[in-house]
Amino acid sequence: MSEILKTAHLSKRYGTGAYVLSGMDVTFEKGTATGLIGPNGSGKTTFIRLLSATAFPTEGHVTFQDFDIHQHPHLFLKHVGLAGDSNNLPAYLNAVELLEWILRSKKKYDKQAPGKISAMLDAVLLDERRENLLGTYSSGMMQKTLIAASLIAKPELILLDEPFRALDTESVNACIDLLETYKNQGGTIIISSHVKDTLDKLCSKYVEFPVLE
């Protein structure tokens, strides 16, 4: 399998504090799912933020295809779907409008798009309340919307930070099925969780984050 994303000597510290991550070399291959596991505060979220260009490394770099993502974050983000903090969505749009916007912004909105949006929201089990504004959503509904938003434009890579928090078992299973299908179609998944069991159905490789000293 060909590599899609690679970190080299990646380190991060906030201000002059201790290093949260130090000298990480990880390669992610196309069409695979990699789990980031470790206890709370072990640096999983920092790592995802570095990979999504929402944080910048203290040392080292991250390469996507053949360019440094922190030198060309906008170009990189064209290829990526993100599901991170649920507060990072505009509150005055509904889920359908949000997915429509994402498709239009990536010039992928066509006659089939409304059907695709509807199918995607069905797949994550977001019910008829999808027409309500995002600001009214519960945590679980917001997580489902984030997962749908990360996948709708069929990006080459998706980065998911604790995507199953606040989801019930049925919804977790539905989302894992959806991610499995995406992976089988050649998509690459990087997903963090502090519970490894949840990821076993999906991931073939893990990056472990030890407790920080």
């Binding site: 944080a55 993100l82 916007w101 600001g135």
Partner: protein, 419 residues
């Protein structure tokens, strides 16, 4: 009684810059007005300004008071009722101070004739600040106590008959039911404020200075006594009002059943394709939070009224500066976290794309302003046809500058904030 002070909420750099721009434009507009005005013109302008401020206060006060950004702190500190009142009153001080300055400029800014008619100018200034203080105090009182009533409307305990009869006619209220008490209060405050200006003007004609202050003093005393009476139980009003407006303003649940269809994608055909998606999404959001259409209509009707009353061009220019500033600054709302969460913004388009998106959002109402000036130019002989073009140029420049500054302070800060 010990009153705990809470740390003043620190505005972001963007908020500060936006405030400075608005204050600067306002002061510029007033200087423009007062520059070469005679005493009579100052009196007339001061009354028009009083009218405008009565409407402005009626609209802006609840937005300044609620929901409180420091609510978590306030709850943790468990402030006493009097401290809560003081905390809220302090939020109004910068605005009121700015408006005092505008009245001072209107009265005293008189290049070359600084020392002429000082007693008359002082009386004009005193009347002005009394009117805005009284209207602000009254509006403060009205909106502080409105929480319970609004919640009852919002949750269907009140207003059933009205809403049912609207429904029977195939209509619905244009706003969420919980906003109806606020709208009533807004109308009431605006009407009382305008009547105050009228009565003050009427009593000034008797040439007994003290008499002209009477209406303002009555309203100020009434509001002061009311506020003093609720002071011991102010916490009750504060928390209820905050909870209600939090639901209304911060949590968009109140807007979920929309009275009108949201703007269609094809309706923004005038925006180049590259930025159309973002302009469309921004306008959808903005229309749900702050529908500008009706506000612009009121602005334009008042503009026509000014032309009709044949006031000085300085006054009209000042009003146009205010319209253009208000219209452009409204887009500032689109940079708040609810509308523009920074990581999400970055996934949609580059910061440069956001500059152009905001520019197009800003110029949405430009044709309406130019058209309204064109209508005046057709029907009013002394208005030249170059006037609409001059203001169009002013608006376009102001729109792109606002868009650039706002985006510079928001999306362009992405890397700095997340490093």
């Amino acid at each position: 009684m010990k009153i705990t002070k809470i740390t003043k909420s620190r505005p972001t750099l963007l908020t500060r810059i936006a405030s400075i721009v608005v204050a600067g434009m306002l002061v510029y507009a007033v200087v423009l007005l007062a520059g070469d005005a005679s005493l009579e013109q100052r009196v007339v302008t001061s009354r028009f300004w009083g009218f405008a401020l009565a409407g402005f206060f009626a609209f802006i006060i609840p937005h300044l008071l609620f929901p409180d950004k420091r609510i978590d702190w306030i709850q943790m500190l468990n402030l006493q009722p009097a401290a809560l009142m003081l905390h809220q009153a302090r939020k109004l001080f910068p605005l009121i101070a700015l408006l005092y300055i505008t009245y001072a400029l209107l009265a005293y800014y008189d290049p070359g004739q600084w020392t002429i008619a000082i007693p008359e100018k002082t009386s004009l200034f005193a009347q002005g600040i009394l009117i805005i203080t009284a209207v602000a105090a009254y509006a403060f009182y009205r909106f502080v106590i409105i929480g319970l009533l609004s919640q009852e409307w919002h949750e269907g305990k009140r207003g059933k008959k009205l809403l049912q009869s609207l429904e029977a006619m195939g209509q619905s209220s244009a706003v969420p039911p919980g906003m109806i008490p606020s709208l009533t209060a807004t109308s009431m405050i605006a009407a009382i404020g305008m009547l105050l200006v009228v009565f003050t003007a009427y009593l000034t004609a008797f040439e007994i200075t003290v008499l002209s202050y009477l209406p303002g003093l009555i309203l100020l005393t009434y509001s002061g006594v009311r506020l003093y009476n609720i002071r011991p139980v102010y916490d009750r009003y504060f928390y209820r009002g905050n909870a209600f407006y939090d639901e209304l303003f911060r949590n968009p649940k109140a807007f979920k059943s929309e009275a009108r269809e949201p703007i269609a994608y094809d309706a923004v055909y005038w925006v180049p394709h590259a930025w159309r998606h973002a302009v469309w999404a921004c306008l959808r959001q903005l229309d749900r939070r702050l529908p500008m259409g009706r506000i612009m209509l009121l602005f334009i009707v008042f503009l026509w009224f000014l032309f009709w009353t044949d006031v000085s061009f300085n006054l009209i220019s000042a009003w146009l500066v205010i319209i253009i500033t208000a219209k452009n600054v409204a887009s500032y709302i689109l940079t708040t976290p609810q509308f523009a969460p920074l990581p999400f913004q970055f996934t949609i388009q580059s910061p440069a794309g956001w500059v152009l998106t905001r520019f197009f959002v800003n110029i949405r109402w430009t044709p309406a302003i130019i058209l309204s000036l064109g209508v005046v130019a057709v029907f009013q002989g002394d208005v030249e046809f170059s006037m609409p073009l001059y203001w169009a140029a002013f608006d376009l420049i102001f729109s792109i500058l606002t868009a650039f500054i706002i985006t510079r302070l928001h999306e362009y800060q992405f890397q700095k904030r997340y490093v």
